[in-house]
Assembly symmetry: C2
Homo-oligomer: 231 residues x 2
Amino acid sequence: MSSVDHQLLRQCAYFAGMPEAILQTAAASAHSRRILGGEFFFQQGDHASHFYVLIEGNARLSQITPEGRQIIMGLLRPVHEIGIIAAIDGSRYPLDLQATQDSVALAWDQAALRALLEAEPILALRALRMVSARFVELQERYRELATERVERRLARAVLRLVAQVGQPSSDGITIGLPLARQDLAELTGTTLFTVSRTLSAWEEAGIIRSARERVTLCDAVRLQAIAEDLP
Amino acid sequence: MSSVDHQLLRQCAYFAGMPEAILQTAAASAHSRRILGGEFFFQQGDHASHFYVLIEGNARLSQITPEGRQIIMGLLRPVHEIGIIAAIDGSRYPLDLQATQDSVALAWDQAALRALLEAEPILALRALRMVSARFVELQERYRELATERVERRLARAVLRLVAQVGQPSSDGITIGLPLARQDLAELTGTTLFTVSRTLSAWEEAGIIRSARERVTLCDAVRLQAIAEDLP
DNA sequence: CGTTCGCTTGAACTAATTCAAGATAAGTGG
DNA sequence: CCACTTATCTTGAATTAGTTCAAGCGAACG
């Protein structure tokens, strides 16, 4: 495995700060997997074969309800780890990981992952910390979903996305990935229509500018106010 | 620490199946903490000092929104572990743990927990598995909250509670802990009023019998049908 | 150039909330 | 044991946030 890959590992929280030797071992036991936009790394219910680190592209973590309605649990971009839980104990993936653009990920199979964890037990603790952090985040989102109105949740979602993948542009900060109204709806637990109406109202008020699959935040202060339910 | 305590540890998933010696070490490094009904083991934002195993009583895991609205993340009964995430990395508890009856828990402080994890590294992996399992559950509840109507979520909640703490009674299975309408509301992300109306309708239909802080499931099949949105 | 896909908007509808009033039952203290 | 207080629960009526459905617009794409 090339040295490019093992330097990339430093950029994800899971491997950050680990000794060089470990990174090399880790990189050496991974293989890289290329997935076209729209294709799946894995799907809900698949036997959990690999632990991935996304190093190129974009991906969407989602669940589909028995009725066929989709909800988005997260949007991933490099460098992000995913699937460690399932891969460690060989259970099944509890959700879909779909590439939204052509993507590349490093992948460790179960044997490689176990060897790694054995060689460097601290990685088990790190995994625990990583999962825990996501657990707390999910709890927060759960609480928001249970107690807040759509507009507020939507404001939060936009602010989060701006913070994560914002790119400065002429009249504000643009969310740096294609983001349909439907995506925002699935991210906040509402419908395409409500999202559209809300964004239209915000645009009217000069808070954002929006286009097809694109949102630009113009007035962060006012959106923040909506997210915090201030006057 | 008495041998009663260390046998109790076998009953929680975290310690189940561990060698006798480890259980004794674990029990020896714990102290027991008694909390009166209504009091808190810890509150949201507290410095995470201890990992607990509830061995007597009942407790409620909840979050309070900045606006003061409460939501219940879980109801705990013996033997249940809680707080390992926060205790391991010494962060802050992300929610409240309140005793709903007089309760007793074994508690490990950070030093004891670290010593334990060091002595028996497998415990780190177990913790990871435990947190992972709860993560997946929470994801499921999140999806339900995002996509399902109140009646269905309520049906699921009642079925879960019956499965967890059901006690056979004359005309069905009674949920074995005091459970106010308000509790069910906070558990399912709705209001006291909607819960009351729904339970009344179910009682009318002969699916349940209910009294003050008590619910008895009479017709599990029909409640299941509601939970699965069948005709 | 036409088709597709994403988006917008109006109108009707509905699930659920909010508020108010009162009923029922469980403690509490005289 | 009874009256008083408090907490839980029920129910109706009004309101609202959000959904659903239908129709049509406009930009992108083959």
